[in-house]
């Protein structure tokens, strides 16, 4: 048994996982239309490559990655592109963003370019990396960071962590994935291992998922007996169930005892961390040649008849999934509050028309009647929030400064480090919506910083303009002065010439007179 560490704070929560983790993975019928947002990841939006009327096939590239930190989008089924338009997306703002709309033809026909590689283990590292990027693989644990960009660490790596902790209540898609596809996860891990070259590999699972742990361990033994030697570097570790053990920095602390520096990234302490879903997507991309076009989504809630995990094509409207899971009998979007993600870190969806995206791990259907409105009471400075904060922050201080929009103080107290886990809000006896304050303060600060940069830019542009005008005036002045000087010179010269010629004529006259006189 290897030593485990503890992260600061955290809270024990009821899991509600049995609502959805009993049944196997279900495949829903295709929706009539798929809405594929160009931005489903952190970074620059993808650029559409198709036009209205184009016939597309399953797995076909329809929008290209536009920079190093970006990800392409692929058609998740066959059909026709019927619209390129702004459609409401899974974002708390309810703002519509650019989407490619595909009317499915029901045939679910693969694109001709999709085929399994003959010898994936022979791929060189650059090729491997670019295939992962080209398959549109992004972090499926919620961060949706383009995975390719993570797999080129600039220092040596000690530990590759595959995150199967799944600490949020209600969500069971990773649990189900680990039980259904343990071999694929481990083979995906071995591909990642080639890329980052760690000394050890750990798959971490919260100890409330013993079946997942068992399936993974059995798969490791199988692969070992099949002669895949590198699998012996892989350990499956059950970590204590404590929210948010699945947070990247918390999990790294628990497994290795290392603290990722504030505002730092895991590779700085020699760790690369990816989610189990991402790892399976890497397997699909390399061994099967399939891009990321579907994912497991937990559809759950107290009144959802067929609460389970569904293999959902990206772009499927949430409403379609609610109908299939039998969540709609109670009125769907009207009577229920829809949350994308879990109750702690998820956010409320604007409506059920939004499509499932790469980041959608769960749709939690909460009857509105169950949502008790709470009134916040004044802060009593009890300090409970700081006790549970897994990021070592002082939520109470952040709260005061968020109210006062004291950006420098928020910076000083490391607001940017807050992972919005919600532990503080759960612990707060005054029921202050602390996370909402922090989200509010973060976007206010972002705007404030953007404005400051813009103001600097405007000041510089104004100065450049003034300098240019001054320069032009100076030149004008100089030219004027020169002209004046020239004129003066000419005048003088003329005057001199005139004087000279006058003298000359006088001389002439003199001469003449002289002549005459002569």
């Amino acid at each position: 048994m290897n030593k485990l560490w503890r992260f600061n704070g955290g809270v024990k929560l009821s899991g509600f996982k049995s609502l959805s983790n009993a049944a196997g993975v279900k495949r829903p019928p295709l929706p009539k239309r798929l809405y594929l947002p160009l931005q489903q990841h952190i970074g620059a939006p993808a650029e559409a490559l198709v036009e209205v009327g184009d016939k597309v096939y399953k797995g076909q590239l329809i929008a290209a990655s536009s920079s190093f930190i970006s990800a392409p989008v692929h058609a998740s089924s066959s059909g026709t592109v019927v619209e390129l338009k702004k459609h409401i997306i899974a974002h708390p703002s309810g703002i519509a963003e650019d989407c490619i709309v595909i009317e499915t033809d029901g045939k679910d026909e693969w694109h001709s370019s999709i085929s399994a590689l003959s010898n994936p283990d022979a791929l060189d590292l650059d090729e491997l990396r670019s295939r992962i990027s080209e398959a549109g693989v992004v972090g499926l644990g919620g961060a949706v960071f383009p995975s390719g960009a993570k797999l080129k660490p600039t220092r040596s790596i000690d530990t590759l962590v595959i995150n199967g902790a799944e600490c949020e209540p209600y969500i069971t898609c990773d649990d189900r994935l680990m039980r259904t596809r343990p071999r694929e996860i481990i083979r995906g891990l071995l591909l990642l291992r080639r890329l980052v070259n760690p000394t050890e590999c750990i798959i971490a699972v919260e100890d409330n998922k013993p079946e997942a742990v068992q399936h993974l361990r059995r798969a490791i033994d199988e692969l070992k007996s099949e002669g895949i030697g590198s699998v012996s570097t892989v350990r499956v570790v059950a970590v204590p169930t404590l929210f948010p053990a699945g947070g990247e920095k918390q999990l790294i602390k628990v497994l290795t005892g290392k603290a990722v520096p504030q505002r730092g990234l895991p590779y700085e302490v020699g760790v690369v961390c990816l989610n189990v879903g991402t790892t399976a997507a890497v397997y699909d991309a390399i061994y099967e040649g399939k891009p990321l076009i579907s994912r497991l989504v937990t559809i759950t809630g107290p009144n959802v008849k067929h609460a389970a995990n569904y293999e959902v094509p990206i772009g499927t409207p949430v409403q379609h999934m609610l109908d299939i899971a039998g969540a709609d009998d109670t009125g769907g979007g009207e009577q229920n509050r829809l949350i994308m993600g879990g109750p702690m870190m998820g956010h409320v969806l604007p409506n059920a028309q939004v499509p499932v995206v790469k980041a959608t791990n769960c749709i939690l259907v909460e009857p509105k009647a169950d949502v008790v409105p709470t009134t916040a009471m004044p802060c009593i400075r009890c300090g409970s929030c700081a006790d549970v904060c897994p990021m070592h922050l002082l939520p109470q201080q952040l709260y005061w400064h968020a109210r006062g929009k004291a950006f420098d103080k928020l910076d000083h107290h490391n607001l940017a480090d807050c992972i919005e886990c919600g532990c503080c809000a759960v612990a707060c006896p005054s029921k202050i919506p602390l996370v909402h304050y922090f989200r509010f303060a973060k976007t206010e600060k972002k705007e404030f910083d953007a404005k400051a940069i813009f103001a600097d830019q405007s000041r510089v542009r104004m100065q450049i303009r003034e300098a240019r005008i001054a320069q032009r005036e100076r030149e004008l002045e100089e030219r004027k002065a020169k002209r004046k000087a020239d004129r003066l010179k000419k005048k003088k010269a003329k005057a001199a010439a005139a004087a000279a010629s006058a003298n000359a004529s006088v001389d002439d006259q003199d001469q003449a007179s002289n002549g005459v006189s002569v």
């Binding site: 974002h91 802060c379 919506p433 909402h436 910083d449 940069i453 100065q463």
Partner: protein, 184 residues
């Protein structure tokens, strides 16, 4: 990620600004500099001075009050008051009112533009491009929304209008919890 990006941007700007500061040094009184950094650099002239810096100079010499900049809003007055150790005061309505709502940018109607170049000459941040006799365009990443280019400067009615910046998920902001009922 956005933090990284912002830091990178800030750094890049820092370097650029450093360079520009040397190249275009404005002989400066440090207090004027400090005041100037608190002004929004809209360069609209609503304060009664021909730009943010002249206003900063006027504040420094106590010729102007700190409440004459509508784009800076009450928050701007507050920041100036803190810097100068003065009492915050409400914005002077003679200078205009602080606009609520989304930021506005100038938009030139390509159909009606006659290419007179008047707007190019007035724009304080070189945000308009176009040659004499040709259609002109506002480079919206640079436009500060100062409104100096609007008619009557532009001789064609409705050729230049102000339009709100379209909301997107990158600039969207969370509501203030206090405004949505989580009152204390």
């Amino acid at each position: 990620m956005s933090v990284l990006l912002l830091t990178a941007l800030a750094l890049a700007f820092g370097v650029f600004l450093g360079f520009v500061a040397i190249k275009f040094r404005v002989e400066g009184d440090p207090i004027v500099e400090k005041i100037d950094t608190l002004l929004p650099q809209t360069q609209c002239g609503q304060c009664g001075y021909p730009g943010c810096r002249p206003y900063a100079e006027a504040i420094a010499s106590e010729e102007a009050e700190i409440n004459q900049c509508p784009p800076g809003g009450e928050a701007g007055v507050q920041a100036l008051a803190e810097l100068l150790g003065k009492e915050p005061m409400p914005l002077n309505p003679d200078n205009g009112v602080a606009e609520e709502g989304p930021a506005m940018l100038a938009l030139i109607d390509e159909e009606t533009c006659i290419g007179c170049t008047k707007c190019v000459q007035i724009c304080p941040v070189d945000a308009i491009s176009g040659a004499p006799g040709f259609m002109h365009t506002v480079l919206d990443v640079y436009c500060t929304g100062c409104e100096l280019c609007l008619p009557p400067l532009c001789p064609v009615d409705d050729c230049i209008i102000m339009v709100p910046v379209e909301a997107n998920i990158r600039t969207w902001k969370w509501s203030n919890p206090e405004a949505v009922g989580a009152v204390l």
